[in-house]
Amino acid sequence: MFWDKVKETLAPDELAKLQLKRLKKTFKSAENIEFYRKQFAEAGVRFSDIHTIDDVRKLPFTRKQDLRGGYPFGFLAVPLKKVVRIHTTSGTTGKPTVVCYTRNDLDAWAELIARNMTMVGLGEDDVFQNMVNYGMFTGGLGFHYGAEKIGMTVIPSATGNTTRQIEMIQDFGVTAIHCTPSYAMHLAEVAEERHVEFPSLKTGIFGAEPWSESMRAELEEKLGVTAYDSYGLSELFGPGVAFECNERDGLHIWHDYYLVEIINPQTGEVLGDGERGELVVTPLLKEAMPLVRYRTGDVTFRMEDGCLCGRMQKIGRITGRSDDMLVIRGINVFPSQIEHVLLSLPEVGNQFMVYIDRMNHLDEMSIEVEMNREYFHGELQDLTRIQAKVVKSLRDVLELRTSVKLVEPGSLPRFEGKAKRVIDRRGEM
């Protein structure tokens, strides 16, 4: 099913033409922003230098901290009166990042969500429960308007109160849900404990944090859904930037909206198809806040093979953030790798915490993971054997020795927003 078949299946030459036209427009609009005027001047690049889409490489990168530095309206390319909505993304330190939308921006964004949801077979026959934060977080309203656009019956349930969420899924005959994968896992656990089933559910859309294939299998089994990965970030409108189709093998990123590059995060060098690196995006249709070569910090690659569904080139599922990447004793570790290992071991649960300390000038990583009740038969050896197995499995994948502590089932924190599973205490000395 297509929402906009022409745009979703543009031939490469037509696409390039459209991208170039929109890139030029974006450049012009970025020149309304003082930050970019300076950046372009420093890089010695002018509008007349852009002849092909590859000329985007002449332009400087934009980083998250640049946006923060422009707080609140430093990246606005239009007068504030043209802005109809403001979202912010929470910063771990200092001011949040502000994102502004014109009427056209909101329409374009809803259009993206409409494409995505139609792509996975959703439409006006569906009842959709949107279980994400409806406040400043873009996941709530973003999905909301896209879902309404394709005529779904939308329940803006937002987060929290799992009992009520379960009740609504059952009473309203909900067919599709959207939430973070960790909340979905929590929902599945609570449902299991209470012996609740969701016969009406068929589709689960999960995003806002990376999740693994084994987590997909588990969520599908426990919730009875087909699970789709949704990718986006507020700086690029919000969710909807890229999405899985029915093949569920990589994410279709919408190239008429976004000019995609993959770079080596250390050197900034542009990488080719199939090479893993940081996703850099130049949005082509953003009016209020145009961006140039925005460094997403997300790690992925451009997939070489086309897709059976006929849509444009896919990117691989996000395997971590370049800034989430932990460097432990010189070895790169993504929390998603740890999650993947733990999910493959039935003896332990899905929740985990990672602590990193520096002891005697050496990095030490310790992991807390919950015991699976069914694997405790009353003996200490049950526990030590499982502990040793977890240590070994982690070492095999991470090539790193970790210490593992088994904790009681249900004792680790559950996260409803972005999961914060890594506590790096190396700076605290």
Binding site: H377, E379, L380, L383, T384, K405, P409
Partner: protein, 144 residues
């Protein structure tokens, strides 16, 4: 003789080694008026197993499970010892002669006698052998 009469159900609780866990378990027993007859803690790296013989094992299991604890039953046997110097030696020697391989053991001194609680690999066989060597086992019903 029915071997089963001597097999005692021990409550084994997975517990993290952190302050208050033991108190929480003990409080749960107290609330349910469950009497603890014998008790030990085995500890590894940051976690352990709390073992207890109680008069109401099913009730204890239910209560702890409802509190979220990870609980299991473990079969153990209780060998009577003389409550005097050399009592343990005598029993240890008997167990050795009987070829009993203990996984762990803990002792208590109660109303009836001094008792050594042991966890063995093959519990039925162990009961038969200990009895045939002249050892005295406490019957499970004493603990309920």
């Amino acid at each position: 003789m029915d071997v089963k009469n001597y097999i005692i159900r021990q409550i084994s609780v997975f517990s993290e080694n952190k302050p208050g866990r033991l108190a929480s378990i003990a409080k749960a027993f107290q609330e349910e008026k469950i009497n603890i007859l014998a008790f030990s803690i085995a500890e590894a790296d940051g976690f352990g197993v709390v073992r207890a013989l109680v008069n109401l094992p099913d009730k204890a299991f239910q209560k702890l499970t409802s509190l979220g604890y990870n609980v299991a039953f473990t079969d153990v046997i209780a060998v009577k010892m003389k409550d005097e110097p050399g009592g343990l030696f005598e029993i240890a020697e008997l167990l050795g002669e009987a070829g009993i391989n203990m996984e762990y053991a803990y002792a208590y001194s109660g109303k009836e006698a001094a008792v050594l609680i042991i966890r063995v690999d093959h519990v039925n066989e162990a009961v038969t052998r200990i009895l045939s060597k002249g050892g005295t086992l406490l019957e499970a019903k004493i603990f309920s």
